[in-house]
């Protein structure tokens, strides 16, 4: 399980547009580098990120090798109410990880 950082206001108001910022530890190996011995390093990147609220997609990103290591993504979301926010990353080598936040509303 890769380390993640998820930042969002702890108790926003219903209807408020909040910023959600997420980071995940991942090398995002581009596939264009060679190691010290000159051997090409295989591509290993995250390719998708998706945020869902109560199962419905509210934001999606397609990532390419041009995204920096330890990818950081920030986006806005209008708070619909209390519920579960889920954050899913997918990528090469069958990578898949989901983190959830139980959102309380002020």
């Amino acid at each position: 399980m890769a380390r993640t950082l998820i930042h969002l206001p702890p108790e926003p108001k219903r209807g408020e547009v909040i910023d959600i910022q997420v980071t995940i530890a991942h090398p995002m190996e581009t596939g264009f580098r060679s190691n010290d011995q000159g051997v090409p390093m295989q591509r290993d990147i995250l390719t998708h990120f998706e945020c869902r609220f109560e199962g419905r997609t509210v934001f999606r990103a397609e990532l390419h090798p041009a995204i920096a290591a330890n990818p950081y993504i920030a986006f806005a979301w209008r708070v619909e109410g209390p519920g579960t926010l889920s954050f899913t990353w997918e990528g090469d080598k069958g990578f898949q990880q989901t983190e959830t936040v139980a959102l309380k509303v002020a």
Binding site: R3, L5, Q21, A68, N70
Partner: protein, 257 residues
């Protein structure tokens, strides 16, 4: 910029009999590497929601309280709140090893002796996590490395290395980082090289790394043969750099280009 320790460090510098030269960075003119960065990178460093080093801080925080198999957790010996001063008072003298130790080495020693863990070196995964956690705990404190007089010979050796031309480029550290700090080398701005932000997330490394790693990069950069791993020269340099930066605010874990 705060100068809370500037007066103190002036006295300390006088007391430790350094061979100060006219081209050295004056104590009151010391500026952190943060000030040499672009606004975008400074913003990245200042925001915990964006600073990638926080991935390690979070890890370190969990590690601090986790009991190792058959052993204790760091928190079992170190009272809550004591984390704050740890980074600020290193390098310190180690009685058992009869030489100075950096914070990273102290952590490595503790993990071996009290938690039955293998030595990792300063760039090992748990080492970096704990160093990042303790760096953040000390943020804002003036760096106050131990002034135990037994560190002085190490500090003086470090200073000699600082002034010694090295490598195919035949450059001494002081030439760039004292005489030409603020100028550009290629497209990069030369900082004064006060390691107040370590461990740092260096964009060049795309990961968090230690001061020894950075120093090794400096030697390679002037095309010098790096000192052997574990050589006294690395420690001497760190002791000198800490004394040179004494009184400056700690700001780890930082972001650097």
């Amino acid at each position: 910029m705060k100068h809370p320790g500037a007066a103190l460090s002036l006295c300390v510098l006088a007391a430790v009999a350094s061979s100060a030269q006219a081209t050295d960075t004056a104590p009151q003119a010391r500026r952190s590497g943060t000030e040499f960065m672009s606004p975008a990178l400074r913003a990245l460093q200042a925001d915990p929601a964006q600073n990638p080093a926080q991935l390690w801080v979070k890890d370190g925080e969990a590690l601090w309280s986790r009991a190792m198999p058959g052993a204790k957790a760091c928190a079992d010996c170190h009272a809550d709140g004591s984390q704050r001063g740890m980074a600020a008072r290193h390098p310190a003298w180690d009685e058992r090893l009869a030489r100075p130790v950096t914070l990273a080495e102290r952590i490595d020693q503790c993990r071996q002796r009290h938690q039955h863990q293998q030595p990792q070196g300063p760039d090992g995964p748990e080492l970096l996590a704990l160093a990042a956690y303790l760096a953040e705990a000390a943020r804002g404190l003036p760096w106050a490395p131990s002034d135990d007089p037994r560190l002085l010979p190490w500090q003086q050796r470090g200073e000699r290395l600082w002034r010694q031309r090295m490598g195919q480029l035949n450059l001494a550290c002081t030439q760039c980082h004292d005489q030409h700090a603020g100028a550009r080398l290629g497209g990069a701005t030369i900082p004064q090289a006060h390691p107040t932000g370590y461990p740092s997330y260096r964009l060049e490394w795309q990961t968090l790394g230690s001061l020894p790693r950075r120093l090794r990069g400096c030697l390679v950069g002037v095309r010098a043969e790096p000192f052997a791993p574990g050589a006294d020269e690395w420690l001497a340099l760190e002791v000198f750099l800490a004394r040179r930066a004494a009184g400056m605010a700690l700001e780890g874990p930082a972001v650097r280009p």
